[in-house]
């Protein structure tokens, strides 16, 4: 055994010094990367546990379905008008933004034959996605609320959210279409069908997962931020009931008011928990939808 090692020092089964060093380095890398991955697990779990710990005793059925009460307003009662307002804003935003983003993404990925036009549009859309949401809020206030005389209203806030969702959705849709192997297009079109038929029957099904992921991202981003609706849609207190031309309460602005006016931290944590739980439920159902769509398609 020892002799063999002497005869051919690099070919034995224990490995040379440098070999063992590189194995060790590999292990260290692995540990470091594992740690980074673990942070990705730890962070959301600890934040959510903290919110649950602080907020769970506030959350009840009546907290969800009541309007705010007490003096100062919000110390008692529930948050229904804010839940309703956020749901309505998100729905309007998605209803307006999704068809436009789908059309834009399809055009850029499937129809646009001018490289320069595609790249320019894509660059501008990426810029749009990078604009801070408070700027959208300001724009919405100046243009929609004041100039177009929409007033602080559900429709003004919904349109601002649509503006925020649009670039996120468009990029997600374009990317998921672009990741489809060109063989599908070549094969489909070589059977003499139109591009529209190919898109409808093949490409959208293949891109389905990416599109749903984009919707989750866009809705989460839009619904969670207070800035875009702060001066365009939201009101301090409402008893519920929706109207396109009327302002609404929203979860993030309600949360902002509760904390910034030091009304009730208890109620604030309850509100935060409801917001997070809502987004998580939305996320989970989207994932389920994605599985279902993917399952029948793959």
């Amino acid at each position: 055994m020892h002799n063999a090692a002497v005869l051919s020092p690099t070919a034995n089964m224990t490995g040379s010094e440098t070999y063992r060093l590189s194995v060790l380095r590999d292990r260290l890398w692995r540990a470091a990367l594992w740690f980074c991955g673990f942070i990705g697990f730890l962070l959301p779990v600890s934040i959510i546990s903290y919110l649950v710990f602080e907020g769970i005793h506030r959350v009840s059925w009546s907290f969800l379905v009541d309007y705010p009460k007490g003096t100062p307003l919000g110390t008692q009662g529930g948050i229904w008008p804010a839940v309703e307002g956020s749901l309505a804003l998100a729905s309007i935003g998605l209803l307006v933004a999704f068809p436009l983003a789908l059309g834009g993404g399809l055009y850029l990925s499937e129809y646009g034959r001018s490289q320069r036009f595609n790249e320019t549009v894509r660059f501008l859309v990426e810029c749009l996605a990078a604009v801070p949401s408070i700027i959208y809020g300001l724009f919405g206030y100046a243009f929609l609320v004041v100039f177009l005389k929409f007033g602080i209203s559900l429709i003004a806030g919904g349109l601002v959210l649509a503006l925020i969702m649009f670039p996120i959705l468009l990029i997600a849709i374009q990317e998921s279409l672009r990741s489809i192997d060109d063989a599908y297009r070549e094969m489909g079109l070589s059977l003499g069908v139109t591009r529209f038929y190919l898109i409808r029957r093949v490409l959208l099904r293949k891109a389905w997962r990416g599109i749903v992921a984009g919707i989750v991202l866009a809705v989460g981003h839009a619904v969670g931020s207070a800035a875009p609706v702060l001066f365009t849609a939201s009101i301090y207190f409402s008893k519920g009931g929706l109207g396109l031309d009327r302002p609404v309460m929203t979860l993030p602005t309600h949360l902002y008011n509760l904390v910034s006016e030091a009304i009730s931290f208890d109620q604030a944590f309850g509100t935060a928990l409801v917001l997070i739980a809502g987004l998580l439920i939305f996320n989970a159902s989207a994932t389920l939808l994605r599985r279902l769509g993917g399952g029948s398609a793959q």
Binding site: L189, L191, K206
Partner: protein, 274 residues
């Protein structure tokens, strides 16, 4: 067994043509030139395919075989920057590149089978009906009849008849390639183009595709690009040799492989180049 009865019966014996070159020309490629981004890829190619025959296109890699094939059903123009700069192709006497020719109708009538088979994200049955649902060429048949007859023609019916609603992506590559051929046949094409249809397949699947080609030949002219010279010899009646974007020689497969006139062709066939 792949060859259905009615096909073997309608097979026309070779002796029908005195000289194959005088038979009816299905494809007639005349002086065809193609550029990619201004770079010349096909230069004055001449070729023809005869009725009830298989034409094999052979030649070194990059010689323009796929490009030529894709001009034959107007799928070349799906690639940006590709242009047919001169010449034309006559298909049964009609100009493929004439004014007012709708490329989609050309593609419906002349189908293409690709190197890499692709399953569309739908059931096996729906994959077969992909073109039919668009072109509406039901011709009084129900969808089940079309699925059955097309899968039968490619010898896939018995293998998949119990799982027609399964996703097509669960098929093996060899089965998938036959599904792609069934999908093309469902269009009721008048010719079939194949670009290295066996290069992703194992020998058994390859043999099945070759049998299938021979079985389809009596109804459909077939043009096949192949890297495999032995395969070209086995299944084709005519062979065209492409070299650097030019058609060096076309003749019966027999003559091309035994007495090629062109020195380059001889070198390629005897394995000196390529």
């Amino acid at each position: 067994m792949i060859v259905p009865m009615e096909m073997t019966c309608s097979y026309a014996p070779e002796g029908d043509h005195e000289d194959p070159a005088d038979g009816p020309r299905i494809f007639d490629v005349r002086d065809l030139s193609v550029t990619f981004n201004g770079r010349s890829v096909l230069r004055g190619v001449n070729a023809m395919a005869l009725d009830r025959q298989v034409l094999a296109i052979v030649g070194p890699s990059g010689s323009g075989k796929s490009t030529l094939l894709r001009t034959m059903n107007r799928t070349l123009e799906l690639t940006l920057d590709a242009r047919v700069t001169s010449g034309d192709i006559h298909f049964k006497g009609e100009r493929l590149y004439g004014n007012g020719t709708d490329p989609r109708l050309v593609r419906k009538r002349i189908c293409m089978v690709h190197q890499k088979p692709v399953a569309f994200p739908m059931s096996i049955g729906e994959n077969v009906l992909f073109g039919v649902r668009f072109h509406k060429n039901w011709n009084g048949r129900t969808k089940d009849e079309i699925i059955r007859s097309c899968l039968d023609r490619v010898g896939l019916w018995n293998e998949v008849k119990d799982r027609l609603s399964d996703p097509a992506s669960r098929l093996s590559v060899g089965q998938l390639q036959r599904l792609c051929i069934a999908r093309a046949l469902a269009n009721d094409p008048e010719a079939i183009l194949m670009d290295e249809p066996c290069s992703a397949l194992d020998p058994v699947s390859t043999a099945r595709i070759e049998e299938l080609i021979l079985a389809m030949k009596p109804q459909l002219p077939i043009v096949i690009v192949t890297h495999n010279l032995a395969q070209a010899r086995r299944i084709s009646d005519q062979s065209l040799f492409l070299y650097d974007g030019q058609s060096l020689e076309q003749d019966t497969t027999e003559r091309i492989f035994t007495h090629p006139k062109n020195g380059r062709v001889r070198d390629f066939i005897t394995g000196k180049v390529g």
